[in-house]
Subunit: 205 residues, 4 copies
DNA sequence: AATGAATGAGATTTCATTCAT
DNA sequence: GATGAATGAAATCTCATTCAT
């Protein structure tokens, strides 16, 4: 078990699934969905290949469950942070970005997999995951729209700004390694400032 | 052949390679490196499976060649644009971003593949591609450093800003569809402004 | 439970076996012995996979029991009918065919499975089933021989006729659907006439 | 190669398919469609497992091709025999049965597989095979109808007689072994007589 | 009796690659 | 250059069966 993912899996795992999902996460993170085999996952989970199918009907379902959990948790964290942040759009935006960055740092592999492997989902699973992702982005969009309306965000391009902020936060999962130059908190502060600057908000200092 | 990719492939192809590379590009773009098969590529290129091996020694080499060409072209375009932009860091940065966005729009699939499939390269091929990518990012870093030194970019975090600007530009490849709301030029303007704002530069208007 | 099979299973089942055997019958009928899985049977019987093994030591044993029951019942019905039919070979033959047809109609799926899946039995189970089948055919053969000896059946090929009569009756299981053009009784009359005609017996009308 | 099947496969095989089809025929005949594995077929054909897929896209397609060939050949033989038999229904019926029996004897395994494994086909393949089978039966039905109309067949049940005649001929594949008591020709004569008797035709002798 | 978890063997199919022509 | 045939390895998934509870 990888401590960086523990919380995510404790939430969603209903017992033995956890080991499988954790192994799948690591396999998909290291080799991608198609590059990782069910054998890899079984090996990582310390069980037999065929036993995987007592828990998940297919490899795709494993990925789907993983992404569902990751997106749900991200959405929950951002929602909670924004709700606790008061009414001012800049405060709300900062809170969202800080929560977002913290999630990516806490669940780096899950974030990476969610970013890069959605495309291999099909059908309902894909629809659901995309919907959850859209919900997250829509939180940003509402904050940006409010700040644009109030004149606190002066960017001439408020409509597309949210997408770029999400991109910046998600991209952290592609390069972040624990023990880097900046702490989780510092990374959050930094990206909150980048986001506010991008929106052309009034900045301290 | 897809006109969006023509330039890229005409530059690098030594004749018949072009059809194979173009087919590989589409296959990797649609299904990912491991999801696309050599058979897919052969079918797309209108040739036989075994004939592919007269042009490329392995599937990995096809990907390597594709990424080499894409990164070289991107690097060339940005270098040229920056050199033509005069001495002022804000001008140079705008030029870089505009060229970058134009490249992503012109070669969307290649940009996407370059973004998402590098991880499946190994050995020298990977080293080379990563080096080219680093060269590109380093152009941004130098401009940012110059602007920070001159006081034109007032962000307290100049060291990590370049990476975020590159992320924003690259991310366009993940959602852009031709015929969207903004033209290629508008998209370039928009992202140039986002970049300058993020750097906390003086902005017009 | 399928009413067409109830009698068959009530006779042989020692309680809970019935549901399993009935489910197996339907599964084997629909997908064949190798095409149907123990999981299919468990699902159909409304029990767990592993519980099947409390009733039958193996999948083959399920089939063996099914065929044993079907052949025993057929043999019993024909024997009884023939015994009640008096001494005249034509009467005895008609009675056998009518009973045979009635059995096939009453237990269509069981008849079909008995016809097509015997080949997947091995060892004693196969031997027993084949013996029961031979007993049935031998009843026909004795009647035919008696009628040939008495001059009532004038076919020049009495020795192989019984097999063909059995074939005709068995084949009903491959096409019969309840609610067809002819009733069970009419089907029996029809086939009795076909059989007597084939034997070149004197026919009414 | 099994000489009993040579003709059938020489007709339809376009080169290397023949060995695969012959091996498949023997495997399906011995173990049934689901009981025989692609490995069995590869072994029988003296090639590798994966090479099978250069000839047939799936196991089902192998079966489909086999049944198509068998039914086409049977239909062709019966058609030809009937056409050569003149106008009299009894003559035409005898010719059909003799040709039918000869085919079953010549291609016993193919006949058996065609009889017992059609059910494992699906989609168009099944539709086509069933159509070919219906064509064959319809030849018998037309002859029977003509003979009934002319008064030469006096059975009160002409409508269902054809099916029973076909059943009798097909059933030969389930028990016939070369070198049996009766020669191919004798078996044909015998079954022609059975068929005419069943139809209550005027019989010699 | 009944169950859920587990497993080794094996199923079909696809893969990247090679080779003779 | 180009092809068709071939192959070993590996992919996903299913199977009948066992075992601890």
């Amino acid at each position: 078990m990888n401590s960086r993912s523990l919380g995510l899996l404790r939430d969603g795992g209903r017992g033995n699934d956890a080991a499988i999902l954790q192994a799948a996460l690591e396999a998909f993170g290291a080799k991608g969905f198609h590059g990782a085999s069910m054998r890899d996952i079984a090996r990582g989970a310390g069980t037999s290949l065929s036993n995987l199918y007592n828990y998940f009907p297919s490899k795709s379902d494993v990925l789907a469950e993983l992404l569902r959990m990751a997106n749900d948790e991200l959405l929950a964290r951002i929602t909670e942070a924004v709700n606790a942040a008061g009414e001012e759009p800049p405060d709300r935006l900062s809170a969202a970005v800080r929560a977002h960055v913290a999630f990516v740092v806490d669940h780096q592999i899950a974030s990476l997999v969610a970013l890069t492997e959605v495309r291999y989902l099909a059908g309902v699973a894909r629809t659901n995951v995309v919907a959850a992702r859209d919900s997250t982005q829509s939180i940003y969009e509402k904050i940006v729209a409010a700040g644009a309306a109030s004149g606190q965000f002066r960017t001439p391009y408020p409509d597309d700004a949210a997408r770029n902020i999400v991109s910046m936060c998600s991209a952290i999962s592609t390069w972040y390694r624990p023990g880097g130059r900046l702490s989780k908190r510092e990374l959050g502060e930094q990206h909150a400032r980048y986001a506010l600057a991008l929106l052309e908000a009034e900045l301290p200092g």
